[in-house]
């Protein structure tokens, strides 16, 4: 103590050593920290019962489960509407009842994707020449986003898409920087994976192909641009090609996913005819709607900082033009979503703008990694304002946690994405589990009931059950002891098929429930009922 001052010194060599340590182990440390956060978050949502709040999460798990268990197992159960990669990955674990019913079979890939995306954000910012603080801030903004924490703990597909798209964009950046072919192929590979997760990545494929073509044409010549473009599209578009082939092979129409009866397009048409698709043909409203979704998912302040960060990055002459151009890929989700809303291929309800409900508001999370990168860059760039910006971001993040602000949870719990199927599934669980007989149901309408009942998949006869379904809708009284349908709704395919069949008259209506009614075969007809799986695999396919 000298002059009323206490002081101690940390020698430069120790600082250097710790810097070297961080430099060497940064990714490992990040993997450990992010993994712990991911697991803690999953356990938290599993315990508070929100883990499977999304109706879609339960349907995703059922799709995976039907591939490995049920009356008609096999890859054809992957269906046509949702892209198959996440369901395929699920099949590795979903055979286990705990993995299926806890949602872990679907969440585990999201959790891995969460860790991977966090690391990719770190690496992306590093590629932009930003120091440790900016990089870590970018990761923090991604990780401390409750919407992300929630979605990575559920069996939804968003996190897988974020990981594949961010990987694609990161490797594209590497390619723009080095022009090494390998990076272009890696980028194409990850974008290809993305195209097998959600349709958003199809737009990224289109945008990135265009970017590569333009860049090479301007820098070299047409021939080189054409060659690389074809090469990139061949690998990047392979997933799209496979999906078209799949649809052609299974559903006899390569565009069945786009225009089939269960496609988003058909649903949007129904909404449009009901006047519930106001964004269609309206650029301004489409933009406004997505910006709101973005603000609610990322936080309004972070979003504004991200916008400033993007502008500063694109105007930063210290960063080579090609690098700046490569970062345009980061705004693909924004362009895609606005375009999809405008064209009427997507629907998004924001409470307060489109009535009093939420629907698909989670689409706003697609920009979270991009915003995190832009803000990380901004904070890394402006050293004098760094402490202020970090302080304000921490301040806002603190309040996002104290107020439990997760619009995706609201979307799942109170929005149109949720269905309260508890009563009907509880009835099935209590009254059918220990009795012989099948339940006839439509998965397109009631997948969440199947999941929530906790019954094995082989208890259900559904559209994907092959011959069982064909015979059951002709003579329900011979095959189904119980029928779950939404009475008088032709949107329910099972109802549509059986409503006029004579066998249907042999059932008693047990009760009406919010989303479905239960019918039970009258006891006097039980004698003729088939209660066992009788068709072998080949017969079932006929």
């Amino acid at each position: 103590m000298k002059n009323n001052i206490i002081q101690f010194l940390i020698f430069e060599k120790y600082i250097k050593k710790s810097r070297q340590f961080l430099k060497r182990w940064d990714i490992t440390i990040l993997i450990i920290v992010l993994s712990l956060i991911s697991i803690a978050s999953f356990v938290f949502y599993l315990n508070n019962g929100l883990g499977l709040a999304y109706n879609d999460a339960r349907s995703h798990l059922d799709i995976g489960r039907r591939v490995v268990e049920g009356l008609n197992t096999g890859f054809a159960q992957l269906g046509s509407v949702w892209l198959p990669l996440t369901h395929l990955l699920m099949t590795l674990t979903v055979w286990n009842d705990f993995m299926w019913h806890s949602g872990l079979a679907g969440a585990i890939q999201s959790m891995i994707a969460f860790v991977v995306t966090g690391i990719l954000i770190y690496l992306f910012i590093k590629e932009l020449g930003i120091g440790m603080i900016g990089r870590l801030l970018g990761v923090f903004l991604f990780v401390a986003n409750i919407n992300i924490l929630y979605l990575q703990a559920t069996a939804m597909t968003e996190l897988m898409l974020l990981a594949t798209m961010t990987a694609g964009a990161y490797l594209l950046l590497r390619w723009f920087k080095t022009e090494k072919l390998l990076y272009l192929l890696y980028s194409a590979f990850f974008i290809m994976l993305g195209t097998l997760v959600r349709y958003d990545a199809w737009f990224l494929l289109f945008l990135v192909s265009l970017m590569i073509g333009i860049y090479l044409f301007k820098k070299y010549n047409y021939k080189r641009a054409e060659g690389m473009f074809v090469l990139f599209c061949t690998l990047g578009g392979f997933g799209v090609f496979l999906w078209l082939i799949w649809n052609a092979a299974i559903f006899k129409d390569p565009l069945y996913f786009a225009f089939g009866p269960y496609s988003a397009h058909t649903q949007q048409d129904q909404l449009n005819s009901a006047g519930a698709l106001p964004t269609k043909g309206n650029w301004l409203l489409s933009f406004k709607m997505y910006i709101y979704a973005l603000a609610y998912n990322t936080g309004a302040f972070t979003m504004f900082l991200g916008l400033i960060g993007a502008v500063v990055l694109w105007m930063d002459k210290k960063i080579p033009k090609n690098i700046r151009f490569a970062t345009v890929a980061l705004i693909a989700p924004l362009l895609f979503n606005v375009l999809a809303l405008y064209l009427g291929h997507s629907v998004l309800f924001i409470q307060g703008i489109s009535g009093d409900t939420w629907f698909n508001v989670r689409y706003g999370v697609m920009m979270v990694p991009s915003i995190a990168i832009f803000v990380g860059y901004l904070v890394g760039k402006f050293k004098p304002l760094r402490a202020t910006l970090i302080g304000l971001l921490l301040f806002v993040t603190f309040f996002s946690f104290t107020s439990g602000d997760a619009v995706t949870i609201d979307d799942a719990r109170v929005g149109s994405s949720q269905k309260n199927v508890k009563e009907v599934s509880e009835w099935l669980k209590e009254n059918t589990a220990d009795k012989k007989g099948f339940i006839l149901i439509s998965v397109a309408s009631h997948d969440s009931i199947i999941f929530s009942s906790g019954l094995p998949m082989k208890k259900f006869i559904h559209e994907g059950a092959g011959k069982y379904y064909k015979v059951a809708i002709e003579n329900p009284d011979l095959w189904a002891r119980w029928i779950v349908v939404r009475s008088y709704s032709d949107d329910d395919s099972t109802w549509r098929e059986i409503k006029d069949k004579p066998g249907f008259k042999m059932y008693n209506l047990i009760d009406h429930y919010p989303f479905a009614d239960i019918y039970e075969l009258k006891p006097e007809y039980l004698e003729n009922l088939n209660t066992e799986a009788v068709f072998d695999k080949n017969q079932n396919k006929q």
Binding site: N4, L385, V396, F399, D405, V407
Partner: protein
């Protein structure tokens, strides 16, 4: 020569101070006579008087109760007067919903005013006094960070009369007291770095919480900055040096007096030293109909169907008022909306942003504090469930930001002193802002949020305005709330003429200063060119 210079400066300071005091005095809201229990529910004191909003009433109720009833808890009439900004303790006592600082700070004014038979006016005059001190602090801080005398004066002038700070300088609210703590701390860190200045900063930080609880967040940046004078890191050739000044740690003791007072108040009024008034159960109304506001067209207190008291049912915590979900809408309300937005009510402060950028280039550390304080202010009240601030004039919660941006105005005016275009543009926006904000000060400041207007229209059967036009209509149709107007001037001119006169006076002085500044700037530039 020096003597003449000093005299010139002194005369300028005296004249400007007189002008500021004069405008605040002619704007100060009030009624003649000592305010008593018989006046509680009269239109003359509420709807058309100085207590038009529950914000005014709630704080004054505590002063009244403390001085007249010698109690920190409200009697039934006082509770009725304070509702709906009224709280009830666990053991059934009525208490103020606000932090007690303002109510106690205005007590001297109340007592002096009571002596002269204007108790309410005396209490309100304390707010005006703090507003004046804020103008002075803006002037001094602006000078310290490089503004010239006239631009520094214009910065202070802009804050006081061209922002909603004017409205809240002549009525009763916490804003000017909060701004004072913030500006005073900034002034202290700019001028001194010693034991006394740090003690004063901690004292102010603690006192600010007693004035209004969210002040904790606004003063956080300046608090951290001051903390950096006790603990800091220095980069040296052979490593990083961590330095602590142990004796400065004792400066934290200065926080004790305000915090002890706060604890004592909370214990006596709310039942526990740690029970903040805002976290008590709120009482929206009491059902004693004899005490309901008679003839008021502005206040509509809902009554419970069965019970005596209508309460809010939600569990409250001190940070539960702030939700990030509100932020996007909050930004819109504070910046763009017609009912509160800066763009409509006080666009002049936008010039301050330019000034802050200039300060940032010159004085990075202190400008970081200014920017962080503005950021905290904007973010906090964008997360607030009611960013409109109830029935208010302009975005009143951003008054601390207006003060800080006014420092920026002074710097921007200094920087572009020779630019005719810039000064002309500034003057035009200044004229607009003064005209708008004088409406709020002299007329009504109870402007409903747009969201409430439809329901109001249904109730009243008339078109309801939700912007400053409502204040203009008030002045034209009902009159002015100004004490001076009511007592002295109303015999000679109508309220709208009075409004024109007051705003004209401000614009004349402002215009004169800008012209003077432009000439001065031009001569400076030509001098430089000649050299």
């Amino acid at each position: 020569m020096n003597f003449i210079k000093i005299r010139k400066k002194t005369v300028y300071a005296i004249l400007i101070t007189i002008f500021f005091v004069f405008v605040l005095a002619v704007g100060l809201r009030g009624n003649p006579g000592n305010f008593g229990k018989d006046d509680f529910f009269t239109l003359n004191w509420q709807g058309n008087g100085p207590f038009e909003s529950s914000n005014d009433r709630g704080r004054f109720a505590l002063t009244f109760s403390f001085v007249e009833d010698k109690s920190l808890n409200f009697s039934i009439p006082v509770a009725n007067f304070a509702a709906p900004d009224l709280a009830i303790t666990e053991d059934g006592r009525y208490a103020s919903l606000f932090a007690p600082g303002v109510s106690f700070l205005i007590i001297p004014g109340y007592i002096v005013g009571k002596y002269f038979n204007v108790s309410q006016l005396g209490a309100f005059a304390v707010v005006a006094l703090f507003a004046l001190l804020n103008a002075l602090l803006i002037y001094l801080i602006a000078k310290k960070v490089g503004a010239q005398t006239i631009p520094a004066t214009l910065g202070a002038l802009s804050f006081l009369f061209a922002t909603p700070a004017f409205t809240y300088a002549v009525s009763l609210s916490q804003h000017h007291f909060s701004v004072f703590t913030l500006l005073f701390c900034i002034y202290l860190v700019l001028n001194w770095n010693n034991w006394w200045s740090l003690s004063a900063i901690w004292f102010m930080c603690a006192a600010s919480i007693v004035i209004d609880n969210p002040n904790f967040f606004f003063l956080l940046p300046i608090g951290l900055f001051a903390l950096g004078r006790i603990f800091y890191i220095k980069k040296e050739e052979n490593g990083l040096k961590f330095i602590i000044k142990p004796f400065y740690i004792f400066t934290f003791l200065a926080m004790l007096p305000p915090l002890i007072f706060f604890g004592w108040f909370n214990k006596s009024s709310n039942g526990s030293p740690f029970q903040l008034a805002g976290t008590l159960e709120r009482v929206l109304s009491l059902s004693d109909e004899s005490n309901s506001v008679k003839g008021s067209s502005l206040v509509n207190i809902p009554l419970d169907k069965d019970g005596k008291i209508e309460k809010e049912s939600e569990e409250k915590t001190s940070i539960g008022f702030f939700e990030t979900r509100n932020m996007f809408n909050g930004f819109y309300v504070h910046f763009v909306s017609r009912d509160r937005g800066i763009l409509w009510f006080t666009p002049v402060v936008l010039f301050g942003v330019l000034g802050l950028i200039i300060i940032f280039k010159k004085y990075q550390s202190i400008s970081t504090v200014l920017i962080a304080s503005v950021g905290m202010n904007v973010l906090l009240y964008s997360m607030w469930g009611d960013p409109w601030g109830g029935w208010a004039f302009g975005s009143r919660y951003l008054i601390p930001s207006y003060a800080l941006l006014s420092i920026g105005i002074a710097i921007a005016l200094t920087k572009w002193r020779g630019s005719f275009i810039f000064l002309l543009l500034f003057f035009m926006v200044f004229v607009y802002s003064v005209r708008i904000n004088t409406l709020g000060a002299l007329g009504t400041s109870a402007i409903p949020p747009k969201a409430e207007v439809l329901a109001l229209e249904e109730l009243s059967g008339t078109i309801q305005k939700y912007d400053f036009e409502r204040s203009r209509d008030y002045i034209k149709e009902i009159g002015s709330k100004s004490f001076v107007y009511k007592v002295l001037v109303s015999k000679y001119i109508n309220a709208y003429q009075y409004y024109n006169l007051v705003s004209g006076l401000i614009l004349f002085v402002g215009g004169f200063l800008i012209v003077r500044h432009w000439f001065y700037g031009r001569s400076e530039i030509s001098k430089k060119q000649r050299l």
